[in-house]
């Protein structure tokens, strides 16, 4: 059995799942007395090629092209189709990455073949290769196999195989057989822009020593800057009870309570928070709790160390003024 492993890298770094898939391929080939080739696409990829050549593989196939310097589904599909048509593997394996999810089904379809995605294992059943994939969010597993002639396509879930089990090449270096592909700019319909990462949540409330939290008593989103003013004057983080985040007045990551964060700051100032148990479980560990609420029966006063029965809209400006004076 001839196996081709498609590797993945981005910005000069391997996606380590490539080696997990290589390990899987070596194991499959070992049992079926087959051979493993690896392919790497891109521009200026000699370092990648050399590293792959140090592994126990029959050959490394670098595919260099200007139009492959950035990943595009069109470029990868067209290039890999040519590689597969000339190398004629029986099985093409990928790591199940986001990129692979993007192009591999298209590649398989362009060759009129099937693909089994996101596999967690394989086994040989009477000489036939059976892939194992999870269903129902991992509550059960299904055996899936290919009908018809190869090449077959399959991808392995990250972590399904161990990258450290990849075998090194016995004599030091595997042959490198570069393949050139026909690719023209007009075939590529996508222009990659700059890479960006989604910003991680900027705030970690669990680490904040001072927290000013607002509840329904704030009444309207227009009033939130006032509370933020209090927080700023104190050097505190702003947080909220559920209804506020539910309305989208503050982001979810600032929600305190059973469905949000659990915090234990030195000081917790609760502004217009009634103190429903769902909120209290998220902040009762605060060292000092100060609560301001119009309703003297509000349950927040049962756990507050200091309570003020009053209107937050009268108290907030006065508080900001005093805090600024004290500076």
């Amino acid at each position: 059995m001839k196996i081709l492993v498609v590797t993945e890298h981005r910005q000069g770094k391997w996606n380590n799942a490539s080696f997990e898939t290589l390990a899987a391929a070596q194991q499959i080939a070992g049992a079926a007395s087959g051979s493993v080739s690896t392919v790497v696409l891109g521009k200026g990829i000699s370092a990648f090629t050399d590293e792959l050549a140090s592994k126990a593989v029959a050959e490394v196939v670098p595919v260099e092209h200007d139009l492959l310097s950035d990943y595009t589904p069109d470029g990868y599909c067209i290039a890999l189709k040519q590689v597969i048509e000339s190398a004629k593997p029986d099985l093409v394996l990928f790591p199940h990455t986001y990129q692979v999810r993007d192009f591999a089904p298209k590649l398989a379809a362009s060759l009129g073949k099937g693909m089994i995605g996101d596999c967690v294992g394989y086994r040989s059943e009477g000489g036939k290769l059976v892939f194992v994939r999870q269903m129902f969010q991992g509550k059960t597993v299904a055996d899936v196999t290919f009908l018809g002639a190869g090449p077959w396509f399959a991808s392995f879930q990250a972590g399904a195989f161990r990258a450290d089990l990849v075998q090194a090449h016995a004599s030091g270096k595997a042959p490198i057989n570069a393949v050139s592909v026909q690719l023209s700019a007009t075939q590529i319909r996508i222009k990659p822009l700059e890479l960006f990462k989604e910003a991680k949540s900027a705030v970690d409330l669990t680490q904040a020593p001072l927290i000013v939290a607002i509840g329904r008593g704030i009444k309207a989103p227009e009033n939130i800057p006032q509370a933020e003013g209090v927080a700023k004057a104190m050097g505190a983080e702003i947080a909220a009870s559920r209804p506020i985040c539910d309305e989208g007045w503050l982001p979810m990551e600032r929600q305190i309570g059973s469905s949000g964060q659990t915090v234990a700051p030195k000081l917790y100032l609760a502004l217009g928070i009634s103190g429903a148990i769902q909120h209290v479980v998220g902040m009762k560990g605060a060292r000092t709790i100060v609560a301001i609420n119009k309703d003297s029966n509000a349950p927040i006063f049962e756990i507050a160390d200091y309570g003020v029965v009053g209107d937050i809209f009268e108290i907030m400006p006065a508080l900001i003024e005093e805090l600024q004076k004290a500076k």
């Binding site: 129902f136 969010q137 509550k139 059960t140 979810m252 469905s259 429903a276 349950p299």
Partner: protein
């Protein structure tokens, strides 16, 4: 966008792992085992039985009083006494009458309230135990998967599609997006429990309703741990009177469990006139009756829950068989509303469905004609015998408790026929009277020790939902809430919901409906009791909902 769904095929798909669904699965697996052992053909497999359960685990959404008549379980698991978590046999059955400040015991407990031979149980534990047996028999139970859509086939159904996972609140797929599975089955058994969302759709679409629409009640329950000696295990009491107005149908319960625990609750028929009636607050007031308050004093609330229950009985039973499917348990109206007992009937209906299914699998004929054997099995079983006797019972209370008891008396001496037979019923939501501008009173707050507000109680239900998902309570027209309902009925959803899901909040000069779906305890009351019938309860992302451990 057409969604690519993975397909799976089963012989039998059971939607819902409650007592009915699990009894069906277990009985069918047992029948298959005997069948295969005899060498008979075709060979069948219990592994081709799939059960869907929307809860985090089997039993998570099970709520009942519960007093269980053991006869259903005895048939299903003959040696059940060896291992079933029966908690405690009933030792004393009392009927109590409450006023605000006092209570007295009826000198003779009326027969429907006598529970000798029955057990006080936690339905959650019973169902969990049953679930282990079902899984051990080789049946696949998929937890955290709800039946979201029916697959129609012939003049019936051919399976269900499970809910899509990983959709954000705006309906867009998230990183963990996973489209629901298309589960096709030769026979699909709807065992969704009370007011099943798929059952409701099917019954409406295929006009399966009986002569009466289904009537419902809501049951609200708290489980308490009380001080030593405050409750005798096996003591059961049903209460009439305060604070339930005599114009309404309902009452309380007190069931003594082992380890100083007591199950208390109140059931109210969802067919009252006052749209601002608050079942949760009424239950809280009931706890303040000195008889209950003394018992709970110094004790601790362990868990809370609420669930609707089908009261309609025999004349509300939908046509429970059709091409490719059957309805069992509460979804199929298998509940004795006089004794408020349904567990044994749910189990029995599941077993009869299993027998019907087994025959159909052998013959290969899964048409309505073949599955109609289920109906004749019901007719010839104790299900019909028990439900027939009380076929007019609940309808007799349409005009309050006084005429209700007179009707009951006549029915008692005529084998259930009573003064009119069949007695007709109206859908409960038609009973509301308009508020005519009457102002709303203050909401019940609770003292935080004996009585609680709804949010505190909801906290004790262990309810959780993924917050970033579409709201699973579909309101067809929010304008109705903000313009029409507010005027006519004062938005009863704010009052009947026992989990504070619905609230009217200020918006500009008016108000709008806010739906706190994450609080939902899956009781289905809103789907039933909304005056305009514009609320549709659908399954949320699997695993969401209450955690009724020990309930």
């Amino acid at each position: 966008m057409t969604i690519q769904r993975e397909q799976l095929e089963a012989d039998v798909l059971i939607v819902g792992a409650g007592p009915a669904g699990l009894a069906c699965a277990l009985h069918l697996a047992n029948l298959i085992k005997t069948h295969n052992a005899s060498g008979a053909k075709p060979e069948l497999s219990a592994e081709n039985i799939y059960v869907l359960e929307k809860g985090r685990e089997i039993g998570a959404h099970q709520l009942s009083g519960a007093i269980m008549n053991p006869k259903g379980l005895a048939e299903l698991v003959p040696d059940f006494k060896k291992s079933a978590p029966l908690d405690t046999p009933v030792t004393d059955s009392a009927a109590l009458f409450f006023t605000e400040k006092s209570s007295f015991r009826f000198p003779i407990t009326p027969p429907p309230f006598v529970n000798t031979g029955n057990y006080v149980v936690s339905l959650n534990k019973i169902v969990k135990w049953l679930g282990e047996k079902v899984e051990a028999a080789g049946v696949n139970v998929f937890k955290e998967f709800g039946g979201a859509q029916l697959i129609y086939d012939r003049d019936g159904i051919g399976g269900v599609i499970t809910e899509d996972k990983g959709i954000d609140k705006n309906g867009q797929p998230k990183d963990n997006y996973q489209p629901g599975y298309e589960l096709k089955a030769k026979i699909t058994v709807l065992a969704e429990g009370t007011r099943g969302s798929l059952t409701k759709e099917l019954v409406t679409k295929k006009k399966l309703d009986n002569i009466n629409p289904q009537s419902y009640g809501i049951g609200i329950k708290e489980l308490w741990e009380v001080q030593l000696g405050k409750i005798k295990p096996g003591y059961v009491a049903h209460t009439l009177g305060w604070p339930v107005p005599s114009s309404m149908y309902g009452g309380g319960w007190i069931y003594g469990l082992s380890s100083n625990r007591v199950s208390i609750g109140l059931v109210i028929a969802l067919e009252y006139a006052d749209p601002r009636f608050d079942p949760h607050a009424t239950f809280q007031k009931w706890k303040a009756n000195p008889f209950v308050a003394r018992m709970l004093e110094g004790g601790k609330l362990i868990r809370y829950g609420a669930k609707s229950l089908p009261y309609g009985g025999w004349y509300s039973m939908p046509k429970n068989y059709f091409d490719g499917g059957l309805i069992i348990g509460d979804s199929g109206s298998f509940l004795d509303s006089q004794r408020l007992k349904g567990i044994h009937l749910a189990i029995k209906s599941g077993m009869l469905a299993a027998e019907t299914t087994f025959e159909a699998l052998k013959s290969g004929d899964t048409s309505a004609k073949s599955l109609s054997a289920y109906q004749s099995k019901i007719e010839n079983s104790y299900i019909k015998k028990e439900l027939w006797k009380v076929r007019n019972f609940h309808q007799g209370f349409a005009h309050g408790q006084f005429s209700g008891f007179i009707n009951t008396a006549f029915q008692q001496i005529t084998g259930g026929r009573g003064l009119v037979d069949p007695m007709r019923a109206h859908a409960g939501h038609e009973a509301y009277k308009k508020i005519n501008g009457a102002p709303a009173g203050p909401r019940f707050a609770g003292d935080g020790k004996l009585t609680f507000d709804r949010l505190t109680d909801v906290y004790h239900s262990g309810t959780r939902h993924e917050e970033d998902q579409p709201c699973h309570l579909h309101v067809t027209d929010l304008n109705v809430c903000a313009t029409k309902c507010i005027e006519e009925y004062g938005n009863p959803c704010q009052y009947f919901c026992p989990a504070a899901v619905y609230e009217m909040v200020k918006e500009g000069a008016g108000q709008k409906l806010k739906i706190n779906f994450a609080n939902c305890v899956h009781c289905k009351t809103c789907d039933i009791a909304d005056p305009y019938q514009i609320i549709t309860w659908v399954v949320p992302e699997g695993g969401g909902g209450p955690n009724y451990e020990g309930m």
